[in-house]
Symmetry: C2
Amino acid sequence: MRAAAFLGPHHIEVADRPDPTVAAPTDAVVRVVLGCVCGSDLWYYRGESPHALGPIGHEFIGVVEQVGPEVRGIGTGDLVIAPLTYSDGTCVHCQAGWTSNCANGGSFGNHGIDGGQGESVRVPFADGTLVRVPGSGHSDETMGSLLTLSDVMCTGHHAAMSAGVKPGSVVAVVGDGAVGLCAIIAACRLGAARIIALSRNPARQQLARSFGATDIVAERGEAAIEAIKEMTDGIGVDAAVECVGTGESMATAFAIARIGSIVGAVGAPHGVEVPIDTVIFRNIGLRGGVAPVRRYIPELLDDVVEGRINPGRVFDFETDLDGIGEAYAAMDERRAIKSLLRIGAKEV
Amino acid sequence: MRAAAFLGPHHIEVADRPDPTVAAPTDAVVRVVLGCVCGSDLWYYRGESPHALGPIGHEFIGVVEQVGPEVRGIGTGDLVIAPLTYSDGTCVHCQAGWTSNCANGGSFGNHGIDGGQGESVRVPFADGTLVRVPGSGHSDETMGSLLTLSDVMCTGHHAAMSAGVKPGSVVAVVGDGAVGLCAIIAACRLGAARIIALSRNPARQQLARSFGATDIVAERGEAAIEAIKEMTDGIGVDAAVECVGTGESMATAFAIARIGSIVGAVGAPHGVEVPIDTVIFRNIGLRGGVAPVRRYIPELLDDVVEGRINPGRVFDFETDLDGIGEAYAAMDERRAIKSLLRIGAKEV
């Protein structure tokens, strides 16, 4: 099969790789229909984080081609969503709902495990990992939204859940990348009364509004903090959602969070310092992390299938596997919010 | 009146100070019966934190001597508990339960406000601040426990609440000071199934056990982490409670917290760095801070009055106001867990 391979910073190519096969009785082999590039992929693409050379990509949906003899809930021909990590579903962490921290799990597209930016993937622990999509003949739009359940929509949901968004909340979302935009969908879905999006990009502002943002703050840093304080009578927001992972974004989130609230953070941290004095003297907590995607997919799936949420609209660049270099470059240069890869036919 | 005054590091003396009077219609004047020294007082005592010269002490119980014309719920002769801060009870933060972050509040024993280490205190916002103790003729033991509701017991409770301790939880308490010991009482009261106390002091270990600790870990740092990991099958604890405020104690708390749990932290931070990679990649949250004491007193008061909890046992050194220097020195030199000051008669 053909799959994207990381060969070093700014150097990604499509290469031949052995066809995946069922190696363990709990494995499935999935033919990838759609994959995409994650904002977190840019860290190693830019040489700012390490990554093993070889397969990449941890977001994909596809059709099951083979299953091992012990796989029960997934069958050949099923359209499935793969979470960013595989998980056994039975360990103490999975049982507690922290599937992305499975004691026996790992990431797709890392440490030699097939990635989602390729034609086919061996999925360990198929029952604990994959989620079957109900129905058939889904539109291209729905397929794109289903793909976001692999990571970005569930990650936005995790940010909102971690920050404790509930009906009536005043929320601010720091970060207008795909995760931040999905966090707006999540906050809206959880009943937030007011959603302030921090964005200075007109296209992203528009998408933010269509996803449920009620206010846009185009300022950054101190000016953004002042603007949000003014909008909230000096109190700050009930839930600050941090979807970037830089020192400035974290500082902004803590500064706009009201007394007693929680910063929900999902950005991969780079140069982040948690303001411990704010934690202690303003009673502002910090929760979040790598989203337990496998736990969240089932609760978000119906809303996607029924079209009540359309997170697939974050994809504003499309190509095929051969365009993988351009898919990364478009995001790296901020020409695209998120790049979709059409890899295989959606028909069984 | 006579009151302790901070004159510089390691220099505390009793000095004359004007008798407090009702200055605002919502004030009360409280004659102090019992005061004490807080672990956090040691930071300025040692010159490690700034503190205004003048009155000190933020923990006291006493008898109301005068009330302003707008005070409704508190009357002359009432035995009352003062939380570490005064609070109006009506601002947006108080209404949300964050009384120690009152928009119009402040600390006792700082910025010129009378301290609890003195004979009398003007209490702003008496209705929003003071809590009347039911009954009369309380024993010395009960009086000491009532005094802990001023700060230390409520702070231990806040640590346990922040860490999400619930029935059946496996809890570890980092810190065997008065707050850590009270956190053990709180965890036990909240139904924890197992409480691991980190302490290498035999007297404190014994008190910890009598407060509900089921296990003692005498090791520190890496060795303590290893011991607790082993005790929990490598998983870590459901709730890690940080009651010190140093870099090492915070690092220990994060290292022993299980995936998806929350570190509850109440120690005044000195040189603390939050391990953001642990937050994000192990989904371990951080909550806590200055306890909303005024909110907690009513829910803990009955347990103290009925003798179901006896947090006053953390006082293992007693003196009167003239012994204030020795009260600080005993704690500074770790000869005492917590020093009680018998300041005035408990009779009305």
